[in-house]
Structures are given as structure tokens and as C-alpha cells.
């Protein structure tokens, strides 16, 4: 079995108290508990404070461009559908720059696990608003308060076809570990939105803020009911934050539906050589 040490690269450079610390540890713990090791898992990072985890996590990794982690992860999965693939991204990364990719990854039920660091700001560029910032949030790019209403990541992904939608809070590492594990084990597209205080640039959405407004879903919560899940997700609009698996159903993933991947992964299959089958189309 792997240890935290096996998965640990450079020492993190996150601010003391940043929610990323908890998420970083939770990801490693989840991988260990799933009996994975740095050679058996692929992860793609976006750009941002969350993306900087690329140097702190040992695995087969792409440190992608801002917003582009999801299509990279989809590509890896298509090439090797037996490998667990994570996209570890930020809210600006995933709901802003890469928003279109997120919607279509949900639709495709691509079997990847998207872990979003949702802190409402762009930390790495010194605190401008992100798409999840509450309306009126004042930042360097919105000195009079943001005019737009926030993205609702749960409702957005649910209605786009995601088959696993969960939410965690960076202050509760044990809970996030279980969410990440469930997400990776889920066959199909999974997203875990992690509410994460930015102690440097977000003085509103603090640990205290979430402790007051977040709550864990009840043990008898029915997670396979789409309508209930949508209702639950809409509580976010009232600054109420349900934690847990909001929605989970089994549906064939993108690669499940490709007959050419039934026998073998794309990367391991033999080269096609029966060219007469193609040339005859042109006679």
C-alpha cells in the first residue's frame, strides 16, 4: 500500500490556513485508500493556486493550461480507459475559462473525476472575483461589487447530465476523502465541488461563514432522484450549502459506449493493418 510520502512531491506553497491544504491531503488519502500508487493514476491540473498542486502530488500528471484540464483528462481516458483520471481545478478555471468544457464533459458522461476548489476568487492573480462569487462581492476587478449572480455548480452540472454530483467543505477533510473516493469509484462523470476559504483574498466566505451555512445531507437522503437533487442544488442560491453526494446514477460512460474499446484499451490494442477494407471504398 502506498503512503502519503509516496504521493508527496515538493512542499506546498499555499498560504497558511488555505483550504487547499485540506484538499491536497484528502486527494492523497483517497488515492491511498483506493489502493492506487503514483504510477497507476493520472491527474490533470488547471492553472491557479489549486493547479500548483501539480508539484506537490506524485502521479502521471499534466499541468495544463487555464481552463483546459477537462478535455485533457477526457483524452487520457479515451486512450486508456482503465486508468483513473482526475481533473483537479479551480472555480475560475472550471466554471469560467473552461465552462464550456465542463458542460460537455457532463453530457458525455466521460469517466473522469473533477475536483473543484471553489473559493470565489482568483487567488493566484491576487483576488479578483470568480464565477462563484456572491453578487455584490467587492474585489480588485469589481470595486463596486460584482454585477453578475454566481454560477450554481451543482445545478449546472446536474442539468448538463453529470451522473455524480457531490459537494464538500475544505474544513472537513474526512468527509472530502469519502467524496473523492466515491467520485473516483463512480463509473461515469463525477464532480466534487469543494467549498474552500481563501484566507488571503476572500474575507466573506470564511471557515466561519461555511460552518454556519453548510450542512451534511441526511443519511436517508435519496441521491438517485433527479428532481430532489435539483431542488437541493438550488439551496446554494440562498447561501445554504448541502454537503455530500447530491446525485448519483449509473449510466454507460463515453468509453463504455465505444465498441472498439470493448476488448482492449486504445493504448494497448494492436495496430490495424487490413487496409484493403479502406482502399476498396475509393475504387
Amino acid at each position: 500500500m502506498s503512503t502519503i510520502q509516496d504521493f508527496s512531491g515538493y512542499n506546498p506553497t499555499w498560504c497558511p490556513g488555505c483550504g487547499d491544504w485540506g484538499i491536497g491531503v484528502a486527494i492523497k488519502q483517497a488515492l491511498i485508500q483506493l489502493n492506487l500508487n503514483p504510477s497507476s493514476v493520472a491527474a490533470v491540473f488547471g492553472i491557479g493556486c489549486s493547479g500548483n498542486m501539480n508539484d506537490f502530488l506524485n502521479a502521471y500528471v499534466i499541468h495544463s493550461l487555464h481552463g483546459r484540464a477537462i478535455p485533457n483528462a477526457i483524452g487520457i481516458k479515451i486512450a486508456n480507459h482503465q486508468m483513473p483520471v482526475l481533473a483537479i481545478v479551480g472555480d475560475g478555471d472550471c466554471y469560467g475559462e473552461g465552462g464550456n468544457h465542463l458542460i460537455h464533459a457532463c453530457r458525455g458522461n466521460h469517466d473522469i473525476t473533477v475536483i473543484v476548489h471553489d473559493n470565489g476568487v482568483y487567488g493566484l492573480t491576487t483576488g479578483q472575483v470568480s464565477p462563484t462569487a456572491q453578487k455584490g462581492f467587492k474585489s480588485k476587478s469589481t470595486p463596486n461589487g460584482i454585477l453578475e449572480t454566481p454560477i450554481n455548480p451543482l445545478a449546472l452540472t446536474l442539468t448538463s447530465g453529470a451522473t455524480f454530483v457531490a459537494q464538500g467543505f475544505a474544513g472537513d477533510v474526512l468527509h472530502i476523502i469519502s467524496m473523492i473516493k466515491a467520485g473516483i469509484e463512480h463509473k461515469g462523470f463525477s464532480i466534487i465541488n469543494i467549498l474552500q476559504p481563501c484566507v488571503t483574498f476572500n474575507k466573506i466566505n470564511t471557515y466561519q461563514y461555511y460552518l454556519q451555512r453548510a450542512y451534511k445531507l441526511d443519511a436517508n437522503y435519496k441521491k438517485d432522484d433527479f428532481k430532489i437533487a435539483v431542488q437541493k442544488s438550488l439551496e446554494m442560491n440562498e447561501e445554504k450549502f448541502p454537503l455530500g453526494i447530491i446525485y448519483q446514477v449509473e449510466k454507460p460512460s463515453f468509453t463504455d459506449q465505444l465498441p472498439q474499446l470493448k476488448e482492449q484499451t486504445l493504448v494497448n490494442k494492436k495496430r490495424f493493418i487490413d487496409f484493403d477494407k479502406l482502399t476498396k471504398l475509393f475504387t
Partner: protein, 591 residues
């Protein structure tokens, strides 16, 4: 034997399919073809036309005169009559419209035949094919066989129903116009040929090269690569992804390539503009990728269904920052097959983006290609994955315990190890005992991010050495057609203009003017010394390009310092013709 057959009609009524069928009949009868389509960017209501140049010899150019014009509507006649001669045959339906008497008129009652046989409007085309084969003395059985192949899935009744229209067209000629029959398509034995477009050639070349992921967003004129590969994917064992946008397209391919499979994307200029961010990304992460660009006239939406070579400099210099890429531009279908397959090898060997440039003219025109040529190429082609390794070469030298079951500790693979040739070993993710990151930030040898000065310089220099290695190992100098030493006139061109310039050379030599032609298909980077030596001789160089800036001329000037002052540039959305080049050369000579 050398003639042009052209058919025109309203968009949405099967003109394209009819053209391909005619090309196939001609090649199955033993002849060579080169064809060209004209269509507007809409599905219904515009004017579609399809011309096929047929010859006893191999060709890849168009001919100025139309010998047989099939007018399914009046517009066809009006638009193309300036290319008719007094001996041209014009097929039309007198019940629908009248034409002047300057040509040989073939009145075919399309409307009446359709109504007698209760046919659909689209079956006008089938009648037209019967008429064409009749007029050209071709073998009607070849046509009947194609009809059978086309409707095989729909059963005997549908096949027989369609065959009536072939017969009716052919009978019309036998009955009323036997004196006009040209006997141009008398069946002769010849080697087997394939009728393919440049896009077909790229698709086939990709499969030959073992491409396993092709990702694209539909964009004229590149879309048929996606539709080909999507149709073949289960048989061949590749996966196509029609993603949400071109940004996702290229990043899907980059992810798949990172994971170890050969991957490609295809688009036109506007779609490529969206991909450019990730061309740079593939550059620094050194992830192999093949990019197919079928150019059309820009800027912006431009003229979507027409042709131009206006994206050359944009392509060569695409991407932020300084990184390496290779740009190729095949001259015809044969080169497209060869260079496409080579592009995948180059991408793997040099671990960078390799861009294959086409344009609407090359991408959508069919040209007959010898089947033997294709078969021989398939046999000779070797997949070369460069330094992609199963186990890193340093593994044995080190303690080598990584893979033992007792100790599962993995080690950081030196993905960006500094090497003399600039190329580092690449490992397929999932290989036990190792891990590494492909990093879009500048990085040290093991992939971790760096902002230090020396590692930055080391990595920039390492990547730059890949070009040096490429130029000495895999760059191919332009081919010279004709006698460079003896010719005063030297054409310089690139990509799809090849066939047209070769034809211009033939026409000029008939007029007593001998010329040479330097044709580039390895566009960038260039071997400066060798190319300069070709360009700085005491000759009359003429640059031929299908754009308004002379972009390749600018690139040559930048790379070699030599400026080609005399230029033939065309940028009206139409391909260059040999006659236009000849006309220009004669003007140059006189001036």
C-alpha cells in the same frame, strides 16, 4: 484523350454525388481524373457545379474549356458558357429553358422522363449520368454497377427503379444524338486507381500511421476527414471525438497523446485560431500532435466553401512564446498520403506539433491515385515512435528495484532530460515504477516547475536543438521539376499549386519557353543554406501563390534574405489555372 465534363444545378439535388460517380466511372474505364467542386455555403437554393477533367495521362489540374456541360438548370449554362467552345456539347431540357445556337445542343427531356417514370427531382442526375455515358461512348454496365452499389442496402426494387433512369438517359442519346457520340470513354485496361480527395488521403494516411484518436469540430473544408474517420473508427479501432469547440478538440488530442496514442485534429483557419493556445502548450510539454489545416479564404468567416493559401504565416508562427513545430504542405494526394504518415512519425520523433496544410482545392478535389502506389506505400511505411520507451534507459543503471513487488516505490521519470539531440525519452503513463508530469510551466528535467534562470535556458536550448536534429535528419529539400541549370524562368511555389504549375511548364515548353519549378512541401523550418543556394542564382524567379501577400515569398525572404520580386498571386477564392500562369509569364518575358 483529354476532356472536361461538367454538371451544374441547384444546391441540394445530388450534384456532388453525381460528380463522384462520374469520376469513378472514368477511372474504372481506365482513365485518370482530377475534379473540382463549386458550391456556396448553404444547403439549399444556391448553385452547385462539379467538373471532372479526364485524361489518358496522370493529371492534377483543371482545363479551361468545358467539352460537355450538363445543365440541370439555366443558371449552369449562364455561369459556365464562357468556357464553352463551338465543339462543346451542351445538355439541357428545352421544356425548361432555351439556349443560344453557338454550341452543339443536346436536348434531353429530363422533366418528361421524370414524370413518365414517376421519379424524384434528384433522379435528374441519374438520367444525366446515363446521357453522359451515352455521349462519351462509355460502358453503361459500369454505371449500372455503381447504381447497384449505391442502393445495395435498399434492395432490388430500389436498384431497378433507379436503373430505369440510367437507361432512359442513355437511350435518349442512342435514339436522337448518335451522330454526336464522342467515344472518349471507351473502356481500356489500365492499373487500378483510387478516386480520392486530399481529405480522403489525409484520412487514409492517418490510419496507415496508426492514428488512434482524431478529434475535430466540423469546419469546411476539413469536415470530411472527421466523417471518414468516424465512419471507419470501429473497423479500424480508433476513436473520433466531435468535441464542443476547437479548444476542447486539441486538448482532447493532447491528453490522448500524453497517454500514449497517436492523436490528431483537423480544422480550417478559424478553428485553428482557437487551437493556437494549445499548439504552444504542446510545444512546451513536448507532446506529439498532428494538426490538419484545410485552408479557405479568410479573414473571419471569409468565403467558407472556396479556396486560398492565406493561412501560411499564421500557421508557421502560431502560438505564444518560442517553441518548435514542423509545417508540411503536400502538393497532391500522393504527397498527402506520404507526408501525413510522415507527420505522425515526425511528431513522435521530435515530440512537437506537426501541421499538415491543405486548402479547399486539394482537400475537396478528387484525383485518381494508383492503387499500387498506395499499396506499396503501406508496405514500406514504418511506424517510428522515436524515444517512446517501455522502460527508461537509466532504469537498469540505477538500483532497479522499482518494479519489484516488495517495494512499490515509484520514482520521478526524467521526462525533460537534457540531451544532445534535444529529444528526451518519453514514457507511457501507467508504466509501473515511475511517474512524471508534462508541465505547461517551464520545468526542470523531472517536470517540476521552475522559474530559475539556468534551467530555463537549458530547456529552451534543448528544445531548440530538436530543430537542428530535424533539419539534418528528416527535412526534405524542395523538389525541382525541369532543368534548373538550363532554365531562365524558375517558378517557386508550395503545397497544392504543384499540379497547376507543372501543367503551366508543359504549356510553356510547347511555346518554346523552358522553365524549372521549385516545389516546397517541407515548409518550416527550412534549411537556410541549402534553400538560399537554390534561390540566389541568376534566374528569373516567379513566385506562385494562392493568396494576396505572397506569404511564402515573405517566409523565404525572412529565412534566406532573398526576395522574389516577380509574383503571380490569385486571391479571388478560385484555384490558380495553368493558363493564367502562362499568360503572366508571357507578359513578364515581354516586359
Amino acid at each position: 484523350m483529354d476532356f472536361t465534363w461538367k454538371i451544374g444545378g441547384e444546391a441540394g439535388f445530388g450534384i456532388m454525388t453525381t460528380g463522384v460517380v462520374f469520376s469513378k466511372i472514368a477511372t474504372r474505364s481506365g482513365y485518370h481524373i482530377f475534379d473540382y467542386v463549386e458550391y456556396p455555403s448553404l444547403i439549399r437554393g444556391g448553385h452547385n457545379a462539379y467538373e471532372v477533367h479526364v485524361s489518358g495521362q496522370e493529371i492534377s489540374h483543371l482545363k479551361p474549356e468545358i467539352d460537355i456541360l450538363i445543365c440541370l438548370n439555366k443558371e449552369t449554362f449562364e455561369k459556365h458558357k464562357h468556357r464553352l467552345t463551338s465543339s462543346s456539347l451542351v445538355v439541357f431540357d428545352q421544356d425548361e429553358f432555351k439556349i443560344e445556337d453557338d454550341f452543339k445542343k443536346v436536348n434531353v427531356p429530363f422533366k418528361k422522363i421524370l414524370s413518365d417514370l414517376k421519379g424524384l427531382p434528384v433522379m435528374k442526375n441519374t438520367i444525366a449520368l446515363g446521357v453522359s455515358i451515352g455521349l462519351l461512348g462509355g460502358d453503361i454496365n459500369e454505371l449500372l454497377k455503381i447504381v447497384e452499389e449505391q442502393f445495395a442496402k435498399k434492395g432490388e426494387t430500389v436498384i431497378n427503379f433507379n436503373r430505369q433512369f440510367v437507361q432512359a438517359g442513355s437511350d435518349e442519346i442512342k435514339k436522337n444524338y448518335s451522330d454526336l457520340i464522342l467515344n472518349y470513354l471507351i473502356k481500356k485496361s489500365a492499373e487500378q486507381k483510387l478516386v480520392m480527395t486530399g481529405n480522403d488521403a489525409f484520412s487514409l494516411g492517418s490510419v496507415i500511421a496508426d492514428c488512434r484518436v482524431y478529434s475535430a469540430y466540423p469546419m469546411t473544408p476539413s469536415s470530411s476527414v472527421l466523417t471518414n474517420l468516424a465512419a471507419w473508427q470501429e473497423e479500424v479501432g480508433l476513436v473520433t471525438r466531435h468535441a464542443e469547440d476547437e479548444i476542447s478538440v486539441i486538448n482532447t488530442a493532447i491528453g490522448a497523446s500524453y497517454a500514449g496514442v497517436r492523436s490528431a485534429v483537423g480544422t480550417s483557419g478559424g478553428g485553428f485560431a482557437l487551437m493556437v493556445e494549445s499548439i504552444s502548450f504542446a510545444g512546451i510539454t513536448e507532446i506529439p500532435i498532428v494538426v490538419f489545416i484545410a485552408q479557405r479564404p479568410g479573414p473571419a468567416t471569409g468565403m467558407p466553401t472556396w479556396t486560398e493559401q492565406g493561412d501560411l504565416l499564421f500557421t508557421v508562427f502560431s502560438g505564444h512564446g518560442e517553441f518548435q513545430k514542423i509545417v508540411l504542405a503536400p502538393g497532391d494526394n500522393e504527397e498527402m498520403i506520404e507526408l501525413t504518415a510522415k507527420a505522425y512519425n515526425l511528431a513522435d520523433i521530435y515530440q512537437l506539433p506537426v501541421i499538415v496544410m491543405s486548402d479547399m482545392y486539394l482537400s475537396e478535389s478528387h484525383k485518381s491515385v494508383s492503387k499500387k502506389f498506395v499499396d506499396d506505400f503501406i508496405t514500406s511505411y514504418k511506424v517510428n515512435r522515436g524515444k517512446l520507451v517501455k522502460n527508461p534507459s537509466f532504469a537498469e543503471a540505477s538500483e532497479g528495484k522499482q518494479n519489484s513487488k516488495l517495494q512499490v516505490k515509484s520514482q520521478n521519470f526524467l521526462r525533460y532530460k537534457i540531451t544532445e539531440d534535444g529529444i528526451s525519452e518519453r514514457l507511457i503513463p501507467g508504466t509501473p515504477g515511475y511517474f512524471y508530469q508534462a508541465n505547461s510551466y517551464e520545468h526542470v528535467e523531472d517536470g517540476h516547475t521552475t522559474e530559475e534562470a539556468q534551467p530555463r535556458v537549458d530547456q529552451v536550448d534543448k528544445r531548440t536543438r530538436k530543430w537542428v536534429t530535424y533539419l539534418s535528419h528528416d527535412f526534405a529539400m524542395p523538389k525541382v521539376y525541369g532543368d534548373l541549370e538550363k532554365s531562365e524562368i524558375v517558378f517557386v511555389s508550395w503545397g497544392s499549386n504543384k499540379g497547376t504549375v507543372l501543367q503551366a511548364q508543359k504549356l510553356l515548353s510547347k511555346k518554346g519557353t523552358f522553365s524549372a519549378f521549385i516545389h516546397f512541401n517541407h515548409i518550416y523550418p527550412l534549411d537556410k543554406e541549402k534553400v538560399t543556394a537554390l534561390l540566389n542564382q541568376n534566374k528569373r524567379y516567379i513566385l506562385v501563390e494562392n493568396n494576396s501577400w505572397g506569404q511564402f515569398g515573405k517566409l523565404l525572404m525572412m529565412e534566406t534574405g532573398v526576395e522574389i520580386k516577380e509574383k503571380f498571386l490569385k486571391y479571388d477564392g478560385r484555384p490558380i489555372t495553368a493558363e493564367e500562369i502562362v499568360h503572366k509569364v508571357i507578359k513578364f518575358i515581354k516586359s
